[in-house]
């Protein structure tokens, strides 16, 4: 067995299993912690809103619902593809992962473009615009960084650095993308629906 084959086919050692368990627990705890920054911004939104007589303030147009819905749909679709791609890879088909993640990334870009357009069209000179821009901007920052990470994972799959035996980089990317979706739901409800 060559060194490379060994790397691909050998089952995980006990140390590697513990390391994987640590990574999974670690990223879960990180996500629980970091989502609270988004919760904090939701609290900020509601407190500012509660101190205004009219919301959004008089003369300020709220963000349009339809583009928001489109962006949300794109994001949900991308998350579904990310999930399916990872499932395919776990079944041993890395090619399927690549195909589905490429489409997922394209949908992610669509989300960023739509939400980004709303972000740039919103004026920040009033309480509503200010909090909208900070919330959406903060979310977009996360979406862009995590999408770049997922693109890097795809590159690693192509070059053979991510294998069926060790799918952790892809799993981490998927978990982070689900985080992007969860964080967006947290923001979408107060910003567009309530």
């Amino acid at each position: 067995m060559t060194l490379n084959q060994d790397r691909i086919e050998r089952p995980l050692t006990r140390e590697e299993q513990i390391a994987l368990k640590n990574k999974r627990t670690g990223i879960t705890v990180f996500q629980i912690s970091w989502i609270l920054v988004f919760v904090c911004l939701v609290v900020v939104y509601f407190q500012l809103r509660s101190e205004q007589v009219v919301w959004p303030p008089a003369g300020v147009q709220p963000a349009a619902l339809l583009p928001g819905l489109l962006a949300t749909a794109a994001l949900f679709a991308s998350a579904a593809l990310v999930w399916r791609g990872l499932k395919t890879a776990r079944a041993g088909h890395l090619h399927g992962l690549m195909q589905q993640w490429l489409v997922a990334l394209a949908l992610g870009v669509a989300f960023v473009v739509i939400a980004g357009a709303q972000w740039s069209a919103m004026s920040g000179d009033n309480a509503y615009g200010m909090v909208f821009r900070v919330m959406v901007g903060y979310h977009l920052l996360h979406a862009i960084v995590i999408a770049i990470y997922m693109a890097a994972v795809l590159r690693s799959v192509r070059t053979g650095h991510v294998t069926v035996r060790d799918l952790w980089p892809a799993e981490a990317g998927a978990r982070l993308w689900y985080f992007v979706v969860a964080a967006w739901v947290l923001f979408f409800v107060p910003l567009y629906l309530v």
């Binding site: 920054v37 904090c40 500012l48 205004q52 920040g124 200010m130």
Partner: protein, 575 residues
């Protein structure tokens, strides 16, 4: 209650000496032990800086008029930096240092779950500290450690306030990374046979603290982000003139900062549980109650933040927060009574570590009682923003946490360095800390009750006598710190009394390896003793004997309990 006049330092003189390689503590390392010492050393350095600033505050307050400080602004900067440094760069990192050093050892693990992340979390602290202090060259922060708007937005013109916010942001991120690492390590890296309720109580305390850190600190991150945006990007989240809210900051800040009080105290509780049991030679009383009360404090800590805002809060919300604030005294009381019961009937070694532990008990209780007092709405409104509050939190954080840290240093120094600290100096250090501490902070209760406001350089002349007592005591307290520094330097470079693996005859796993421990901590897979606090049993004695055969003796050699201590028939006493 019997006491042992001669403490039991398991010391041997002129044994093979562990090498001291100071250079490795200034480099990037992923070894949790090195990182632990790095945390402790850096935190202690900042303690000296923050303490020097405290001396400046007390010097200024010797007289009712401004004398040391050129202006009120300079005084504002002084107490802002003192508070910030003491909280974010001394107490929190020092406790993280103990956690880093001890948790993997107590769990029998080779290292933390994420060693590289551990190093990263530490190395975020020095640049943050430097950034904070560099603010002095850019118009230092002057809004207090609480940074309330509008002070921190409209009335802090220098860039120092922005640098302050960025620095605290970095420190918060470092804290979150550390918290994640602790939780994963404790959950996943316990040895076989060590269930949740077999863990040492210090590990429980670190777990509870880490839960608070990962759940509370993100709110600080959110608030600081908005503060920075207000200062540099033209937003006005905290400026009511443009649709913002000053109360928004108070809510979000205290949602972090009240739980942060427990971040600063709960690990000290854990250290106390270890030290009191070991130096009383008795099993800890109420193990599960102490462990679970740490979690209860962590949970309840999130429900009390608005008691800091009684004077600005909607009146209808005051009573619920008063009730939750008082309820938190219950799990804290469980711990206090359990510790007292632990020492009761024990064969107490009145060594330095034990003295500081008892010092903690005495002073923290005063801080806890004054905490219940300020949780009561009518009383709080009377003493809000007075020296009573200053006294209260110093009794908790200095009389509590700092004394526990001192005790921890005396207790774990032999493990960390392989050398004993001098006991006589330790006792001098204790008495010159404990007594002046009381006379520094207790009179502040009176000053506050009589109406002296905090954060002022100029005060009414009738407060001068009290302030002079406080300041003189504070100077003695400040000087006493140098006894510890001298003791450490002397013990490491001149005295060199070798500790042996287990000088205190303790049963937790960190003592089941050499002092200092080797790379990866243990020579094989360590087997934890059935009960980490099972002192006074034949089983414990056999375990310690076996340990000495394996690792080499600590002086004096173990003896059967009945020979070493004829009165060992007393329940649960003995080595």
């Amino acid at each position: 209650m019997a006491t042992i006049a001669q403490p039991l330092p398991g010391t041997r003189i002129e044994q093979p000496k562990p090498g001291l390689q100071i250079g490795k503590y200034f480099r990037w390392s992923v070894d949790h032990k090195i990182i632990g010492v790095q945390y402790l050393a850096l935190a202690f350095t900042f303690f000296i800086v923050g303490g020097t600033l405290a001396m400046g505050i007390r010097w200024e307050l010797l007289t009712p008029a401004t004398d040391l400080m050129a202006s009120g602004t300079a005084y504002n900067q002084l107490f802002t930096m003192h508070g910030t440094i003491m909280i974010f760069l001394w107490i929190i990192p020092a406790l993280a240092g103990f956690g880093n050093y001890l948790v993997p050892l107590m769990l029998g693990a080779k290292d933390m779950a994420f060693p590289w992340l551990n190093a990263l979390a530490f190395w975020m602290i020095p640049p943050a500290g430097i950034l904070l202090i560099l603010g002095y060259f850019a118009g230092q922060a002057e809004a207090g450690w609480t940074a309330y708007p509008p002070l921190s937005i409209l009335y802090s013109p220098g860039n120092g306030q922005t640098m302050w916010a960025v620095a605290i942001h970095l420190l918060g991120l470092s804290s979150i990374l550390g918290g994640i690492n602790f939780i994963v390590t404790i959950r996943n890296m316990r040895p076989e046979g060590m269930g949740w309720f077999d863990m040492p109580l210090f590990v429980w305390a670190v777990l509870a603290t880490s839960i608070i850190i990962v759940l509370a600190t993100p709110f600080l991150a959110g608030a600081l982000t908005l503060l920075i945006l207000d200062r540099v990007a033209g937003t006005s989240f905290f400026n009511p003139a443009n649709g913002g809210s000053v109360l928004l900051w108070q809510n979000v800040f205290w949602f972090y900062s009240h739980p942060a009080v427990y971040i600063m105290v709960v690990p000290a509780f854990g250290m106390l549980s270890e030290m009191l049991s070991i130096h009383s030679r008795k099993p800890i009383f109420g193990y599960r109650a102490i462990a679970l009360s740490s979690l209860a404090i962590a949970l309840l800590g999130f429900l009390v933040w608005a008691h800091h805002m009684f004077t600005s809060l909607t009146p209808a919300l005051r009573v619920p927060f008063m009730i939750t604030s008082m309820i938190i005294a219950v799990p804290t009381g469980i711990k206090i009574f359990s510790w007292i019961a632990t020492t009761w009937g024990g064969r107490i070694r009145l060594n330095s570590a034990m003295l500081f532990s008892l010092g903690f008990l005495s002073m923290f209780v005063i801080g806890g009682i004054s905490g219940v007092m300020v949780a009561a709405i009518p009383f709080d409104i009377h003493v809000h923003d007075t020296y009573f509050v200053v006294s209260h939190f110093h009794f908790v954080l200095y009389g509590g946490t700092v004394l526990a840290i001192y005790g921890g240093i005396y207790h774990w120094f032999p493990k960390i360095t392989g050398y004993m600290l001098n006991e006589r100096l330790g006792k001098w250090h204790f008495w010159l800390t404990w007594v002046p501490f009381f006379f520094t902070f207790f009179p502040m209760h009176m000053a506050g009750m009589l109406g002296m406001p905090r954060r002022v350089a100029v005060y009414a002349p009738e407060f001068q006598a009290l302030n002079q007592v406080i300041s003189i005591s504070a100077f003695v307290l400040g000087l006493s710190t140098f006894i510890l520094i001298y003791n450490i330097v002397w013990s490491l470079w001149k005295r060199k009394v070798v500790a042996g693996p287990n000088p205190w005859r303790a049963l937790t796993l960190e003592w089941n390896t050499s002092s200092p421990p080797p790379a990866f901590n243990f020579y094989g897979d360590p087997v934890p003793f059935r009960d980490p606090y099972g002192y006074g049993t034949k089983e414990a004695w056999d375990y310690l004997k076996e340990q000495a055969q394996e690792l080499g003796p600590s002086y004096p050699a173990n003896q059967p309990p009945e020979k070493a201590h004829p009165v060992a028939l007393a329940p649960a006493a003995g080595d």
